[in-house]
Amino acid sequence: MAAHLKKRVYEEFTKVVQQQHEDLSAKKLRLTKPSKSAALHVDLCKATSPADALQYLLQFTRKPVEVESVEGVVRILLEHYYKENDASVRLKIASLLGLLSKTAGFSPDCIMDDAINTLQNEKSHQVLAQLLDTLLVIGTKLTENPSVRMRLVEVACKHLTDSSHGVRNKCLQLIGCLGPVEKGAAKEAESQAAKDVQKIIGDHFNDQDPRVRTAAIKAMLQLHERGLKLQQAIYSQACKLLADDYEQVRSAAVQLIWVLSQLYPESIVPIPSSNEEIRLVDDAFGKICHMVSDGSWVVRVQAAKLLGSMQQVSSHFLEQTLDKKLMSDLRRKRTAHERAKELYSSGEFSSGRKWGDDAPKEEIDTGAVNLIESGACGAFVHGLEDEMYEVRIAAVEALCMLAQSSPSFAEKCLDFLVDMFNDEIEEVRLQSIHTMRKISNNITLREDQLDTVLAVLEDSSRDIREALHELLCCTNVSTKEGIHLALVELLKNLTKYPTDRESIWKCLKFLGSRHPTLVLPLVPELLSTHPFFDTPEPDMDDPAYIAVLVLIFNAAKSCPTMPALFSDHTFRHYAYLRDSLSHLVPPLRLPGRKLVSSPVSPNITPHEDPSQQFLHQSLERVYNLQHLDPQGIQELLEFTIRDLQRLGELQSELAGMADFTATYLQCQLLLIKALQEKLWNVAAPLYLKQNALASAAAKQILEETYKMEFMYSGVEGQQVVIIHHMRLQAKALQLIVTARTTRGVEPLFGMCEKFLQEVDSFQRCFISELPHMQGSFVDKLLDLMPRLVTSKSSEVVKILQTTLRQSTFLHLPLPEQLHRATANIIEPTGESDNPLRFTSGLVVALDVDATLEHVQDPQGTVKVQVLYPDGQAQLIHPKPADFRNPGPGRHRLITQVYLSHTAWTEPCQIEVRLLLAYNSNRSKASAKIPKSTWSESLEALPQSENGIEGTIPFSKPVKVYIMPKPARR
């Protein structure tokens, strides 16, 4: 009861107060919505203690404020600000002001004066800092207004002398963000006020507080980012900051030095303690190199990263970064790298077994040894040996970038990169392999280096091995022993990890075609031919033997003398491989053999390419033959489809194109077949058989059109129109079939409606393409549109039927590049006879490994489907992280699929396949709409294309033998 009373009292009390104040504030805030600000005002007045007020403010912060009432709220807040004695409440108000001025659509210039005024009387440093922060927000919203900026900068300069680091920090930040950048314009306006922003900021480089120093450097960088050209004089100041005690200062200073080195690369700076002078960029490079051995790893990472982007450094300095003089007991020692090189050049393999093999030779002059060189010496040597892998990765990246711009440096850093192949962290190893690949056109591997590289082939990580295969694809090897070594190691790899087969073959293909002359002397040995004796014919299915053949055939392509060394069975094997692995085995000019496929020399342009010509000719033939009798058309289409399919198999580069057109023709063929039956003319409902054929055709056409639209990469607008057109025809066919088979008008009516809507949306989507579609189905349909809309559904069907028959066959223009999305499941192989046993009700993880080609956005579209023998299907969405992108247009899916089922009595096979999910809303057609007519199509779109979602299987299903066992009790 008491509580209830209390509540009532409280309620009443609040009511009274509210009314009082609403009157008061209503005068001021006529234009704004009084409710919100007034409520706040009331709350604040009610607050008896600062803690209360703070609580109200906190609550207020959580609610959004409309643009119109912002100003009112700000006024109220300011009013309280002046009255408030407690610093924490003022702080909160100040932060609220900043928050409010961020409101979109609100122009804060009206509150700026007030905010500046509040600064004047403020005593608390924290509140001051917060107010400055608010000003910063206001300033960033009003960047176009130079006078506002000027004023703010002036205010900031005034408070720079504050004793609190927080205030100085904010001031510098403000100056950095708002300081005048345009020299000329700013000069006359603010000659005395903000004299020189750079000087002001520069003065704070020596501030006593490290946070302020950092802020000063950051402000300077901010100015640079905004386009102000920093003065060179700062350089010496920045260099001093590199020796700062605090890591954040050093880190920022490194950045500043880097910026300056990019601005003034060629100016000359003196070297202290000597009379010499060097280029600024070299000096800066040396200094940043020095920071690679800094005490803090954050700075080290930063320094190592920045080194990579300093491309103008002279090569002399660059090469020093890899130099680390070794000594032992004051005698110069050669590094292991140098030793390896020497052994190589003297033509001996490293014995490396003698005690004191690396015994130091020459005495060195004690004076000449500089233990800590002030230059760039050994920066990368240190960076690559760093404790933190972040630093090592940064160093590898930097090496990569520098090596790409300087071939001589690339040659030098090779040893170090090769060393990194043995890093303890996989990421670093992978990164260094990638780096090596990127610079591989600049380098040739020595045998000892190759040896180290190849040793990594046994790595158990698939990523590493594959990266290495990629690397080997584009490396240059100097000797035939090198090639032999590479082959032997790759074969070893093959036996150890049979799943790498494809990747190894591909690698050998490139290795062969790059080094034909080096392979030539190896041929007899590799094929184990003997001058006198016949050797047994190797097993054709042995992957290792295929690997050797791939190497040899690719080398033979540019080495005409090689086929003379082949034995008879080699030629036979060639013919077989050329057919079965056409992407790996090039066409060869072999003696005594007709050239089945003419050698394609690379300088022939695609149009002259005979197979391309063939494709075009056959299509031409089809398109010209629209007036032949239906029988003839059908036959021609059938032949052409067959030809195209065969062509696609033979010519991998044309496969996409050929398949695409073949599918299109197939659709056309189906349509013709379905329509062509004489039975259509019978007035009575169709025969069951006829019905089945036509509806199946319609269904298949629909499916094929989705495939055409979503499975090919490189499909352009022109093709999309035709695909959609085809789909429209299929839908028309469907309509006709249903009209013929069902009785009653009711269902038909709805279908007609829907169909007409679709025609409508088609017209809207592709209005620009319509002129190209003379005489087509749609063209005719649109002519008849007024009639169709008014007529009855049976009438509509009739019209549709005639138009479908009379319409011409649209020419499908081919885009430049067309690739069919393909997927190949590598694992599971589906060959295992041992069932995967698991307890029913629990899950078992199945590793799935597949390569995807020409799939756009695989993360969103590729799914894994598991079909159980009982017809149950399971769709799995792989995680985005499961997709890797080894090359353009290629993806790799390595994921785990969880299987589960109730107990079976005996093992059975499940099917695993990959699906490509599509959604017609996402199609290219609808993507086009916004460009043309945004507003109209927007409302029509959701109904007409109500997002038909579906999936296309695009890989061969793989069978997995599984056996869920009943759980033991």
Binding site: Q208, G295, L371, L384, E385, E387, A455, E458
Partner: protein, 591 residues
């Protein structure tokens, strides 16, 4: 100990009245009294506890802690002994082992007992990294990570504003299981650093590792057996991790064995003290503790005769006795096998003989053993090389450097280098020698807040490191210093204030009228002194802040003007600057 010498590390530091002993090691080369430091050097009579404030042990190697039980129990010391947690854990194992060898095998008497080791360890206080420990009111110590072996630390010893850093042994390049030594910019008065590799700059560790792995891999692939003689702690773990990860990476199947005993116990501690290891191990231990070896199993004597390839780590490291020698004798005859010596071997041991190329060894009993197996040498050492030492000095920025734990000749070179590069004094005392280092102790002075605020408000912003000039009065009273404003000082001491004013005449050659000269001087000053207020008063004088300048014509020579510059004592700085400026004359441009 450890002065121009390796082994028997024992350094005495007296700092601001406190005595600290750094390390308490034994010497491996001696078996007589010389093996332990001479503790009578500290005091002839009386207890050590009275003379030493604390003892600090840097890590568990016997040359750094071997004499500890002798020192604390037999000589008698009851004060605190500081070491890190891993050191405290592993140290007694090693001491016990050492005791066993000396007492049980060599049959020495008058040696410390197991109980003594236990008692000694009770006196140990364990510290954490970067933990500041107050030994007593004034003395505080702090440990830094040193790499080298598990639990190795560098110690900063600080009394008041004077400090010493002792590095113990440290390693600046990270290895497979430990990180690199690190110290902040603590700017000690003295840095005592080891200098084992004072004249060596080492090759990249990656090359060494790769060579090692390649050799092992090749031998194993050939079906051979690899013997790696190691000492129980430190390098053994490093090599284990190296091989373990390699086996994992390359999917190798050949077994790796580890001789049991000491090492197993130690491995247990390595597993425990994961936080002391390097980044990789620390990061991956959630999935798997790297020291829980998957491929490395305990060795049994019978395994040595097993067919097929294998890798065996066996103690001791110099092939002079024990299991490693037994295995070596079994395998030496087969050229497919290999022995890899991962460290230095003392002359006279089998290890040294085979490394120097001897192929026929005479064993005890006149047996002649023919060595057909391959012999390899790989250096895996965890000391900082010359470059690393320099790097540490650069990080810590000491005012003096003292070199220990190294050979005199090598130290000489490094000393010269340090002096040349860093311009700091460098010392290298021999055993028993005392080096005195003078420090510039800073004396704290109390300053009144009012004065401080007033003084910082004047002039430009306070500067971080540069000394700032302040005006005040220093009062030394009752053994304390106070800095107060002059007025307050006057008031306190009851003195009257005197004003001091300097006046100076400057002659200027200027034929023009007086007021013109004044104007020129005014313009000139205004141009030069931008940050000061320069005013031209109506009575023909110029003021710069509070300094007065007047010009009169010279009584004899009208062409010479006399400038009278007058300033008070407080403005001495500006005044003298102004006179020197005026003495240089006026620029000619104004005509």
């Amino acid at each position: 100990g450890a002065g121009q010498d390796v082994g028997r590390s024992c350094i005495l530091v007296s700092i601001a009245g406190k005595n600290v002993m750094l390390d308490c090691g034994m010497h491996m080369g001696y078996n007589d009294d010389r093996r332990f430091p001479d503790f009578s050097y500290i005091t002839q009579n009386g207890r050590l506890t009275d003379f030493l404030d604390c003892v600090i042990i840097s890590h568990f190697h016997l040359d750094h802690c071997g004499a500890l039980p002798y020192f604390s129990e037999m000589v008698g010391y009851d004060g605190p002994i500081y070491m890190t947690h891993p050191t405290k854990a592993i140290c007694p194992i090693l001491l016990e082992d050492y005791r066993k060898i000396t007492v049980d095998k060599k049959g020495e008497t008058n040696f410390f007992t197991s109980q003594m080791i236990k008692d000694c360890m009770k006196k140990v206080v364990a510290v954490h990294l970067h933990q500041t420990v107050q030994v007593d009111e004034e003395l505080e110590i702090k440990a830094y990570y040193a790499g080298h072996v598990l639990g190795a630390a560098m110690f900063q010893i600080k009394v008041g504003c004077e400090s010493v850093v002792y590095t113990g042994d440290y390693n600046m390049t990270p290895d497979r299981h430990l990180g690199a030594a690190w110290i902040d910019k603590c700017r000690p008065d003295l840095l005592i650093t080891e200098s084992t590799y004072a004249t060596t700059i080492r090759d990249s560790k990656r090359c060494r590792e790769r060579d090692f792995l390649k050799k092992v891999h090749e031998t194993v692939e050939r079906g051979g057996k690899v013997l790696i003689p190691v000492f129980a702690l430190g390098r053994a773990q490093e090599l284990c991790i190296l091989l373990e990860t390699f086996w994992e990476r390359m999917n190798l199947k050949a077994p790796i064995y580890f001789s049991t005993g000491l090492t197993e116990k130690a491995n247990h501690y390595y597993k425990l003290f994961i936080t002391w290891t390097n980044q990789k191990i620390r990061k991956t231990f959630v999935q798997r503790n790297m020291f829980e070896f998957k491929h490395i199993k305990a060795f049994d004597r019978a395994f040595a005769d097993n067919p097929g390839p294998m890798v065996v780590f066996a103690t001791p490291g110099m092939l002079h006795a024990g299991q490693s020698l037994q295995i070596f004798r079994k395998w030496a005859g087969n050229e497919k096998n290999m022995v890899i010596m991962p460290g230095y071997c003392v002359q006279g041991t089998v290890g040294h003989k085979i490394l120097s190329g001897q192929r026929k060894l005479e064993m005890e009993g006149r047996q002649i053993l023919e060595v057909k197996m391959q012999v390899e040498y790989m250096s895996f050492s965890a000391h900082a090389d010359a470059k690393g030492i320099m790097q540490l000095i650069r990080q810590a920025e000491p005012r003096n450097v003292l070199l220990v734990h190294g050979e005199a000749k090598k130290m000489e070179f490094l000393k010269q280098k340090i002096e040349q590069e860093f311009h700091v004094n460098c010392y290298m005392p021999a055993n028993g020698e005392t080096t005195t280092i003078f420090t510039n102790p800073s004396i704290p002075v109390d300053i009144s807040l009012g004065l401080l605020k007033r003084e910082t408000a004047i002039g430009l912003l306070p500067d971080a490191k540069k000394p700032k000039l302040m005006h005040g009065t220093l009062i030394m009273k009752d053994n304390s210093f106070r800095l107060v404003s002059p007025e307050q000082a006057l008031k306190e001491l009851g003195l009257a204030e005197h004003q001091l004013r300097f006046t100076c005449r400057v002659h200027i050659q200027d034929p023009r009228k007086e007021h013109e000269t004044v104007l020129r001087v005014y313009n000139h000053l205004k141009g030069v002194l931008k940050d000061y207020s320069v005013q031209h008063l109506p009575d023909g004088s110029i003021t710069v802040e509070s300094i007065l300048i007047q010009a009169t014509a010279h009584s004899e020579d009208q062409g010479t003007k006399v400038l009278l510059v007058s300033w008070t004592y407080q403005d001495e700085e500006l005044g003298s600057y102004l006179t020197s400026l005026l003495k240089k004359g006026l620029p000619q441009s104004s005509t």
